[in-house]
Symmetry: C2
Subunit: 345 residues, 2 copies
Amino acid sequence: MDNKEVTIHDIASILGIDSSTVSRALNDSSRVAKKTKDKILEKSIELGYQRNHLASNLRKSKTFTLGVIVPRISRQFFSNAIAGIEETAFKAGYTVVICQSLESFEREESIINSLLANRVDGVLISISMETKNYEHLAGLKQRNIPYVFFDRHCKIPENSNVVIDDFKAAYKAVEHLIDNNCKEIAHFSGPQNLEIYKNRFKGYKAALEKYNIPFREELVISSSLMENNGKENVIKMLTLPYKVDGLFCANDVVAIGAMKYLKEINIKIPEDFAIVGFSNESISSVIEPGLTTVNQSGLKIGNVAANLLIDKISNESKRKNHETIIVKTNLIERKSSLRKSDIKS
Amino acid sequence: MDNKEVTIHDIASILGIDSSTVSRALNDSSRVAKKTKDKILEKSIELGYQRNHLASNLRKSKTFTLGVIVPRISRQFFSNAIAGIEETAFKAGYTVVICQSLESFEREESIINSLLANRVDGVLISISMETKNYEHLAGLKQRNIPYVFFDRHCKIPENSNVVIDDFKAAYKAVEHLIDNNCKEIAHFSGPQNLEIYKNRFKGYKAALEKYNIPFREELVISSSLMENNGKENVIKMLTLPYKVDGLFCANDVVAIGAMKYLKEINIKIPEDFAIVGFSNESISSVIEPGLTTVNQSGLKIGNVAANLLIDKISNESKRKNHETIIVKTNLIERKSSLRKSDIKS
DNA sequence: TATTAAAATACAATCGATTGTATTTTAATA
DNA sequence: TATTAAAATACAATCGATTGTATTTTAATA
């Protein structure tokens, strides 16, 4: 095979001009005469020339590449977020490298090193469930590579985040349950080292307080929020000496798991037991009864996060270097929680 | 900020040795004395040195990067496949660049150019619904960059594919419907320029033939297989002068759309109408009744495809340059199609 | 100790594009 | 036509790492 790449030097020597002129022509510089440009462009097409970004990037020390770290690509929320990131990045001429931590801190660390070695221009990250310290981010800071947290952010000073208002969304969700005559509300929570789950829990607690419903420690059951946790949690919950009639889940998956099991043991939803989930994954509209849930658009969050990051990359100094953007959520009321037909009191 | 990168030259000059020795030491070459290696390694850690892959890649003309092109990242099957690809690639030390064509040929073309410019070592591609000619792949071939189709492959000679046996899977699915006393079976198909949908259609037709059920052109309704197409297709179907009692859908999403509407108009599933989908997306196990569907593991397909590609990259010549791997599928029987309790006759 | 082979290290070119500076060409004006 | 400014192009260094070859150092042997 003629594996040899066509370079600007090939074009230059064929046309008998200097490679710097070819480079400038291909970058449409004003320093090259129109006539020469045309000649160069024509020849470059003829030879099938394609700029070598490696060389170009090396020289310019800019890669037009964004690194993205998510816990798990296949989780619907994240795949939506990635889609949003790719969409926005593509428009801005950026390429996207995707890595999944698989909820492992060690892997997250090694991914960051790999992204550093590849000299990405910026990083979007949603941290793993295992991540409890943030020293592995030091390399990014040191090298002055901007990064933006999305969804699973963490509480360290001077960083940028694209998040939702978990506290408020949770508060509203629980308020909705209370509004639907729930008197004893449980909460299936996630790992408490993650701010999002901490805040959802806080919102839950705040709503109970506001409406003078006693808060019970035992009704808050933490897990890693997989479908099987839903069943396990329900079983645990049913052993407790409370007549639980409402449940706020920190995500949809665990809620679906819970619903499936509750239906199995013939507990009526929502009559006996009202449920609200979180995320509005596609399963939530498919299950019966439909799952009331907090709608958070992964796509939107991805768009906004990518935009913010690209902004930080382009205006390194102009912009203040930390900022938190809150993407709106709304509660989608489906049947799983509607125990009264009248409007809100 | 001290934005200056630490290079092998910094290490070299500090230690008073040549940068080539530093380079060799960091690559653990046998040409460097153990003592020197230790000294270099220590210093490199002290200075926070991190190899610049751009420079290294440029020199070696190898990037350890795989390009992945999918129609839509957020489609469950594809996000699973991407997860599988990332997993396998990560293990082998490769990085993954993800791009989505959004079903647009033009975008697919531009993505390929961008991947070429970034000198990826190989490409995994699942073509868009719009892709009807394959000239945009010529650049890959010309530059001798290996590529592997997965899922949505195309019928061109001498290429490598990781696919499922769509014909067989569809055949079995329809056979299953027939086995469940369906006499008049419709098929919601996808764009016929895609081999997968063509083959699913062929499998459908072959099963009908085999069991002497008349094939009716009008009962094959093609669409882009979105959820709303499910409803639209059902409406179209119901205007036809046939008492349709079975439906084989080319994917789960359109099947769910159909089911939702059928339930809305009080057609009983599976009693009046048996349905089989394709892909085993999570919604299929959540809807009621559960959707019988062909289980195809995106994760597995991703794993296998990445493996095959990396193999092609590493053993350019040793291996024959085209090969098709078929990943197994199985029919998951759920309630949407079970109209008899006895075992298969 | 002198000789020689092997081990370790240095030198220098290279990957392909970019960019500041120097030189040449062209066009404008006296 | 001579002068000068502007436009166009060439020269040369550079981004950071790698690698074939040359040289130096070390160790082994006579």
